[in-house]
């Protein structure tokens, strides 16, 4: 793993991303824009699953409309995030907020997969029906995890200076 990071650090991609005056800022802005869509869509889903908001809406319809938005936006966020990582791979690997962010992302992914496998098909179509416990717990965990992912992402900027 360490050898792979060292090879990436020495690659022309890293040289370009770290030396070009515009590459990193533009990638970071693309990352923030797509991450905004991830947060904006997933928080609606999570608020509905926990029952903290959007209660007049059927949870099934919200899932059908918003999950594709979240997945597409997450794809762009992950892609831009990989390029940001490639700008200083050794510094990112050594930074505690980045390592914590990866753990939180893995937990958020496991939470979403768990919900998909255990609870998604039990979500009722009608707005007034009570949601299964697995949906409520998964929604609450997702709210917490994505808030922490945002905060750790912000902390990376305090640890790694560009």
């Amino acid at each position: 793993m360490s050898a792979l990071i060292d090879r990436l650090q020495a690659s022309p991609l890293t040289t370009f991303l770290s030396e070009n005056a515009y590459a990193f800022p533009l990638l970071e802005i693309a990352h923030v824009l797509s991450f905004s869509l991830v947060l904006g869509s997933i928080f609606v889903i999570d608020l509905r699953l926990t029952g903290l908001g959007w209660r007049r809406w059927g949870a099934r319809a919200l899932l059908d409309d918003l999950v594709p938005v979240t997945i597409w936006a997450f794809g762009f966020t992950a892609l831009s995030g990989m390029f940001l990582f490639a700008s200083q791979p050794q510094a990112y690997v050594a930074a505690w907020p980045f390592r914590l962010k990866l753990v939180l992302l893995a937990l958020a992914g496991a939470n979403a997969l768990g919900f998909h496998l255990l609870g998604a098909d039990k979500v009722p179509a009608e707005a007034g029906e009570r949601l299964p416990i697995v949906a409520r717990v998964s929604g609450g965990a997702s709210l917490l995890l994505w808030t922490l992912i945002l905060a750790t992402g912000r902390f990376i900027g305090f640890v790694i200076v560009h």
Partner: protein, 152 residues
């Protein structure tokens, strides 16, 4: 009083000193600031997609507009409040920044544009040009927000 002397005065106020001395207020305010920008921008993006009939067509435009616009208004208030905290944290860097000055003007313009757009969308009437203009404006505001750090 020039902007430079005003920002120097603000920099020496007890509230600015307290924010700077705390290790957590700035990252906390920045995280909330990004979260509120995310709510405003994503709401605008979803409403553009719905306005053009490319997303969320299972519900009418007005049904999507009501909760998304309510969330945008709350987020805009948090955005302004956390923005003020971040300016207080570093007034000598922020207030004299041309990029920040442009960002403030654009936020005011976006807030003004949002009023007639919300009126139309809440009534179920689409407004293609206005909704795209507002989304573009929020994209530029996010761009400017990140660029402050690189321009100063």
């Amino acid at each position: 009083m020039t902007l430079e002397t005003f920002s120097s005065w603000l920099d020496a106020t007890p509230i600015s000193e307290a924010i700077k001395a705390s290790g957590y207020i700035i990252p906390f305010a920045q995280s909330l600031h990004i979260l509120s920008v995310a709510f405003v921008f994503s709401g605008a993006a979803l409403l553009v997609a719905r306005d053009f009939g490319r997303w969320g067509t299972s519900e009418p435009l007005a049904a999507w507009a009501a909760p998304l616009i309510a969330r945008q208004r709350l987020a805009l208030a948090v955005l302004v409040l956390t923005g003020a905290v971040l300016i207080l944290a570093e007034p000598t860097r922020e207030l004299v920044s041309r990029v920040l000055q442009v960002k403030v003007v654009l936020v005011a313009l976006a807030a003004a544009l949002a009023v007639p757009l919300a009126r139309r969308q809440l009534a179920g009437r689409s407004a293609h040009g206005l909704s795209v203009a507002l989304l573009g404006l929020w994209g530029v505001i996010i761009f400017a927000g990140r660029w402050i750090a690189y321009a100063s």
